[in-house]
């Protein structure tokens, strides 16, 4: 049977909307699911997706992608790469799978919302494929770590994480509920596909894939880049929707949603990808620093995309630039000092050679993070022996990002980074705490949306975590022995400093 060329039928077919006779347009596309901001169906007919694909083409390509990724995995399985891999790399894998596998599966339902409630035919088409993509990403990222569960139960967190109240998981869920599960079709298009996927997912799926290739983990490198080819396609759902909103006087609303999503994505990537790239990846395998990746992809490429499409730079752009020198160092410091609270073993990443690299990439690191955070810990460890839980108290978490509120230690005016401070807000008699003016601004955009959530710190204070001890907290996090994180080097890194001390004496 002869097939028509796609170009001969696609545009007509996807714009062949029927006119609802038995129900109104508002019933067919309720605002709370469509989020079309009152723009009628006719307006959305001008939606023009840059990437057109038919089901037949889609299935053929995806089949090839899957065959490639699974066969590489099968071929390499015997090589037992992981048994010889450096501890930092193994930690990255555990962190990655636990953080992303089930969220990807959840993204499938967000794509489905666009596939059903998007008013534009092109959006519905692309999102149908997007939904299948995300289903694939969920499945494949549950399957890959499964073979490693016998090596460590921490790999089981790929499946388990999102069903727990572990603090980093609460942070991830809060974010994805906000930009994905709890948004209408246009909200998902702008916040998940445009802001999160176009702007940031490169960092984890291409940047880390490059590091993986360097580290010799061909299987993961292949997997991550294969996923990214899907992301690169369905990430383009948001752009044409944005165009329509801007052309029809809805720029301010579009800008607001994008501004919220970019900052929220930033706080997640600074927690997950930043430490992975700058502290966990073995030194000689680092492709670039996290900051360099951010500068190239977010402050370079993505900023141009924003401006080209007719949006403005987010109002907090300079704040975010300054945060590049602070936030992920703070997240790493916090996670390492309380490594029992996560499902991966945490490498400190502060050998003398690694510190020299950090100082090169982040001038001023030594006189702040080095001198005011790591050196005091090293001195204490050398004197009293290393301990696993360095922080003697609960830290305060941001009521938006749900991660510790941090600043640059030893900061004084003129130094890089930013000082530690709280951005509190009283709302309806409750006192909220935020890690930045941007997190606080996001809350103020829609207080009813956020006000009832309790951070893990709030839950501790409210007596919801019992007993209120380290054991009680780990139990609340569902972290059992063999799952909670250890110092990934078993404190062997201290030896270098012990020798330094001996030589100095």
């Amino acid at each position: 049977m002869a097939l028509l060329d796609r170009a001969d039928w696609y545009d007509i077919a996807r714009n062949t909307n029927w006119t609802p006779k038995y129900v109104s347009e508002d019933v067919l596309f309720p605002e709370e699911q469509s989020g079309a901001l009152g723009l009628p169906l006719e307006v959305w007919e001008s939606y023009d997706e840059p990437y057109k694909v038919t089901y037949r083409e889609y299935v053929r390509t995806q089949r090839e992608k899957d065959a490639g990724v699974y066969s590489v995995k099968a071929a390499l399985q015997r090589a037992n790469f992981l048994d010889q891999a450096e501890p930092g790399w193994v930690s990255i894998l555990k962190l990655h799978y636990g953080a992303f596998a089930t969220l990807e599966a959840m993204a499938s339902s967000a794509e489905s919302r666009m596939a059903r409630f998007g008013k534009a035919g092109g959006m519905r088409n692309m999102a149908t494929f997007g939904s299948l993509d995300e289903n694939r990403h969920g499945q494949i990222q549950l399957y890959f770590p499964h073979e490693h569960v016998h090596r460590s139960r921490q790999f089981d967190w790929a499946t388990k994480s999102m069903h727990t109240n572990e603090w980093a998981v609460v942070a991830a869920r809060h974010l994805f509920d906000d930009i994905m599960a709890g948004r209408d079709a246009v909200g998902v298009a702008l916040m998940l596909t445009f802001a999160f996927e176009t702007g940031f997912s490169n960092l984890q799926f291409l940047g880390l894939a490059a590091d993986a290739a360097q580290a010799g983990d061909i299987s993961f490198s292949n997997l991550a880049s294969s996923i990214q080819t899907d992301e690169a396609r369905h990430a383009q759902i948001g752009g044409p929707a944005m165009k329509i909103l801007i052309e029809n006087g809805k720029k301010a609303e579009a800008q607001r949603l994008v501004d919220i999503a970019i900052w929220r994505a930033w706080t997640l990537f600074a927690t997950v990808t930043g430490p992975s790239m700058d502290y966990y990846t073995p030194l000689d395998r680092r492709e670039k620093s996290f900051k360099e990746f951010m500068q190239e992809w977010v402050f370079g490429q993505f900023e141009r995309t924003l401006l080209d499409i007719g949006l403005e730079r987010p109002w907090y752009w300079d704040t975010m630039l300054a945060d590049l020198d602070t936030r992920h160092h703070g997240m790493h410091a916090g996670i390492w000092t309380f490594h029992k609270s996560v499902w991966w073993d945490v490498p400190p990443g502060i050998s003398r050679a690694e510190r020299a690299w950090l100082e090169e990439k982040y001038p001023g690191w030594e006189e702040t993070w080095g001198a005011h955070f790591w050196d005091p810990i090293i001195a204490r460890f050398l004197k009293d022996g290393p301990v696993d839980t360095v922080l003697p108290s609960m830290v305060q978490l941001c009521n938006m990002a749900q991660v510790p509120i941090t600043g640059t230690p030893g900061w004084t005016p003129g130094k890089t980074g930013r000082p530690l401070r709280d951005f509190p807000l009283e709302h309806e008699g409750r006192l909220y705490h935020f890690g930045s003016e941007v997190d606080r601004w996001i809350f103020q955009q829609d207080p009813d949306r956020y006000k009832d959530h309790l951070s893990v710190a709030d839950r501790m204070v409210a007596g919801m975590i019992q007993p209120p001890t380290l054991e009680g907290l780990l139990d609340y996090f569902s972290l059992k022995e063999g799952e909670w994180g250890e110092d990934a080097l078993g404190h062997r890194w201290l030896e270098e400093y012990r020798q330094e001390q001996a030589q100095a004496a």
Binding site: F373, P376, W411, P419, R421, D422, P424, H433
Partner: protein
């Protein structure tokens, strides 16, 4: 007498802590509690200058011998512990 949680930001630290103080504690005692938690305290401290306590956003610190209760500090109040001499290092201009 009651135990309440406070959020505090100690001069030049890297993270905000939640700690428990007694409403009878003076501001100097609050500072002592906070300093024990600090990782970089020895490095950051200014031996000849006393630490002071103020609410985030306030200009003036509370008197050193004032108690938590007298200061009207309620649970989860956000406090800044700073060296008076380090005023210029304060994160943002005071009103």
């Amino acid at each position: 007498m009651a135990q309440i949680p406070i959020v505090h930001n100690l001069h030049q630290e890297f993270v905000l802590y939640v700690s428990i103080v007694d409403t009878e504690n003076t501001m100097d005692e609050v500072c002592q509690t906070a300093a024990q938690l600090s990782i970089g305290f020895e490095k950051n401290q200014q031996p000849d200058v006393p630490l002071r306590v103020r609410k985030v956003g306030a200009e003036k610190p509370f008197p050193r011998d004032m108690t938590v209760e007298e200061a009207g500090i309620t649970p989860m109040t956000s406090l800044e512990l700073f060296y008076e001499a380090a005023e210029s290092a304060s994160p943002e201009p005071r009103p």
